[in-house]
């Protein structure tokens, strides 16, 4: 039931941070007909729901996560003409300003890359099994609630 890294070479779930330059180079390697690369990086904000946040902890469902992200990625390739794409999502403990997620999309023309990266992020937010837990400066720990705005963002892409 578990997936190996080679099952989904364009999906990475990892505790380690990622390097944008390195991931862009990897994404573009072997493709000469790329004119546009859109990279989205989600970062830990130091404020959520009006409260200071000290630690953000990301939990996921190993196996299902990779499958769900690959499905979103392939859906983007179906909808737009893309040369390559990659999704990296960190799990474990993170701190304000840390990078959480990378969605990078390469295409011949910019329009497709912009739409596809935005689409993947909107779908990822509501369709990939990740859960955020935040620790406030006073030590309070709470699970982050899902946002209505994320569900609305996803629904704008309904065909």
């Amino acid at each position: 039931m578990s997936n190996t890294a080679t099952d989904y070479p364009f999906i990475k779930i990892q505790e380690a941070d990622f390097d944008l330059t390195e991931e862009n180079a990897r994404l573009r390697a072997g493709h000469k007909d790329i004119g546009a690369v859109v990279s989205f990086v989600g970062t830990v904000r130091d404020i959520n729901e009006g409260d200071q946040v000290s630690i953000l902890e990301l939990e996921h469902y190993p196996g299902m996560t990779e499958k769900a992200l690959e499905k979103i990625r392939l859906e983007a390739h179906d909808r737009w003409s893309l040369e390559a794409s990659v999704i990296i999502h960190r799990v474990g403990k993170m701190y304000p300003t840390d990078q959480i997620v990378l969605v990078a999309v390469a295409s011949r023309h910019r329009e497709n890359a912009f739409h596809a990266a935005h689409f993947i992020m909107d779908y990822l937010k509501t369709n990939a099994p990740f859960w955020k837990k935040e620790t406030l400066p006073n030590g309070e720990v709470r699970w982050v609630d899902s946002r209505v705005s994320d569900k609305e963002a996803e629904q704008r892409w309904a065909q």
Partner: protein
């Protein structure tokens, strides 16, 4: 036997991450009813929760899905990644 997984706030509320149960030929709904009989926290997390998310074998599933031997059934709250 089937494998049952609980994630995030569910894991904490139910006090366990996973378990194995004989649940073949049941629907997810029937499995939930059985689990809900364990106590209020189970009933609240699984049966009375309109936001309950269900996955069977890593795919989103519904309460009507029928369970086969060896299936992996996961229960979790709405996702909040990204």
């Amino acid at each position: 036997m089937v494998n049952i997984l609980y994630f995030a706030s569910f894991r904490e509320m139910l006090g366990q991450a996973d378990e194995q149960l004989p649940a073949e030929h049941k629907t997810v709904s029937e499995l939930i009813a059985e689990l809900a009989s364990r106590g209020d926290n189970w009933k609240q997390a699984l049966q009375d929760n309109t936001n309950l998310q269900i996955a069977v074998n890593h795919d989103v599933a519904s309460r009507e899905t029928t369970i086969k031997s060896g299936d992996e059934i996961a229960f979790f709250p709405p996702v909040t990644g990204g």
